[in-house]
């Protein structure tokens, strides 16, 4: 049994049908990338898994537990975390409050020091309000907020978007450390090089349909696929 099993997932925004019978599986300790052009349905897939968008039909099982009809807080308590595309940091709360808040209902939350070991910059800025952080610091905080809950699986939605290369480098390293430590990750990202460096397996989504599944190595060897679905 896979850690995450998604089958027949259909999601809508109002009357607009966005996801069509999405099928995915993610094994424990695996890093899986979901690639596609803008508007292909990548973020909607992650939001549907997390319950931020309620799927109309289909099944999402995490560790064998059905999540598809549950609300986001219930899904979070089952061990899933979504790091949103726009980070959604609480600007009026400081760094430490953001992290503490995230861990409030987690049964096995990380100690703060473990978070600060992974992101020393956050320790330096622990009393700074969310609005006073740089983009890179906000992204670190968004990931830290997810990690403090010790999730079974993290969904990362465009974690490197709009960040300076040096910050991307640090974040890629942090993600690689997480992956090597056995953290299961689903990654949506436009930065193909960073994605293929992290992921072992890849799904390509196009117009709400999963059109390809394979290893990252296979995809690198198939420039035609990259050109056809990603335009690169």
């Amino acid at each position: 049994m896979s850690l995450l099993e998604v089958s027949g997932l259909n999601s809508y925004y109002g009357d607009s049908h966005i996801l069509f019978d999405v099928e995915m599986r993610v094994e424990k300790n695996e890093v899986v990338a979901l690639l596609g052009r803008n508007g292909a349905g990548k973020s909607t897939t992650l939001k549907s898994l997390m319950g931020v968008v309620t799927p109309r039909t289909g099944s999402v099982k995490l560790d064998g537990v059905e999540l598809a009809s549950r609300k986001a807080h219930s899904i979070a308590r089952q061990g899933m975390q979504l790091v949103h595309e726009n980070r959604r940091i609480f600007g009026s709360l400081n760094v430490e409050e953001n992290i503490i808040l995230a861990g409030l209902t987690a049964p096995n939350r990380w100690p703060l020091e473990r978070i600060y070991t992974m992101f020393p910059r956050l320790k330096e800025r622990r009393t700074s309000r969310g609005t006073d952080l740089s983009g890179g610091e906000q992204q670190m905080l968004a990931i830290a907020r997810a990690l403090v809950r010790d999730p079974k699986i993290i969904l990362l939605d465009e974690p490197f978007e709009g960040l300076a290369p040096v910050i991307v480098h640090d974040l890629v390293r942090a993600c690689r450390d997480l992956a090597q430590a056995g953290q299961t990750i689903v990654l949506v990202e436009q930065n193909l090089a960073a994605t293929l460096a992290l992921a072992s397996r890849v799904y390509i989504i196009n117009n709400g349909h999963i059109v390809h599944e394979g290893s990252a190595a296979e995809l690198k060897a198939q420039p035609g696929l990259l050109q056809q679905y990603l335009g690169v």
């Binding site: 931020v52 308590r77 609480f90 600007g91 009026s92 995230a102 409030l104």
Partner: protein, 291 residues
């Protein structure tokens, strides 16, 4: 005749009214900030607090019991209303939310009119606070001075809950982004219910502690509702500190303008609100968080 003694007295009246408006508005602003619902029944909650307290006072003769009963009753009403009605309107358009809360306000007012009639009722202040106090530069009703202190303590208590407790941390986060709070494993609907209850309780508390100053009547909440909306707009939607500043500004505007011509007090109040909207569209301390 207008003289310095009158002016200072009116400034004090403005301070008392402002503190009261700040307390009521803080409830309204955290409800809107967290739930995204403009609660047009908030004025009726103020009225219900007054009546619940008056009933308790009639049976017990204790002002303290009246205050506790008025506050708790309205908190329970708030929790029940959120659970049974408001919850079904979170995803509905704002127009629907306005209509349902407006309708609830009418139901509360008419229910009170049905059971207690339209005549105004009074709750006397506690014996210790009857009479006047000589402040040296003027004499002032003792209960009004005490009311200032009572409301200040209530606001400090609310501040403590919002800024020094974990529940408050969740509420502040919820005001910014309730979806994200939910994504972090916190049942945001329970928080919504709590916030609605606390917001309603603030209005109910204000309703009963104000009863010795202004007689209670079924429609006493209507004027308060208009004033508190102006306060929330001036202070910034969702901002607790904004509600306090906005309340004090509105209280002074109403009181000082009334000294010259009471008919213009609302005109000046709305001019002030318009100026704030032009210069700072999100209010003095508001942010552009919620659409």
């Amino acid at each position: 005749m207008i003289n310095w003694a009158n002016f200072i007295s009116q400034c004090f009246n403005g301070l008392v009214l402002g503190a009261l408006l700040a307390l009521i508005s803080s409830g309204l602003t955290i409800i809107y900030g967290t739930l995204g619902v403009l609660n047009l029944a908030h004025g009726a909650m103020f009225m219900l607090g007054g009546y619940a307290g008056w009933v308790a006072y009639t049976y017990t003769g204790s002002f303290l019991v009246a205050v506790v009963a008025g506050s708790l009753f309205v908190m329970i009403v708030g929790v029940v209303v959120e659970r049974l009605i408001i919850r079904h309107f979170y995803t509905r358009p704002h127009e629907d939310q306005l209509l349902v809360t407006f309708g609830l306000g009418i139901v509360f007012v008419e229910a009170v009119r049905f059971f207690f009639g339209s005549m105004s009722q009074t709750v006397p202040p506690p014996g210790l606070l009857v009479g006047i106090t000589n402040l040296g530069f003027m004499i002032y009703p003792t209960y009004r001075l005490a009311l200032l202190g009572i409301v200040a303590v209530a606001l400090v208590a609310l501040y403590f809950v919002l800024y020094r407790t974990r529940i408050g941390m969740i509420v502040r986060a919820g005001i910014e982004d309730s979806v994200m709070v939910d994504s972090l494993g916190i049942d945001v609907y329970r928080i919504f219910m709590l916030v609605f209850g606390i917001g309603a309780m603030a209005a109910g508390f204000a309703g009963i502690v104000n009863a010795p100053v202004v007689s209670i009547a079924p429609d006493v909440g209507e004027a308060i509702l208009v004033q508190t909306f102006v306060v929330v707009v001036i202070g910034g939607v969702g901002s607790f500190l904004g509600a306090i500043i906005g309340g004090l500004i509105a209280g002074e505007i109403i009181s000082i303008t009334s000294m010259f011509n009471p008919g213009y007090s609302y005109v000046v109040l709305f001019v002030a609100m318009t100026l704030v909207l032009v210069l700072r569209p999100h209010g003095l301390l508001g942010t552009a968080g919620r659409e």
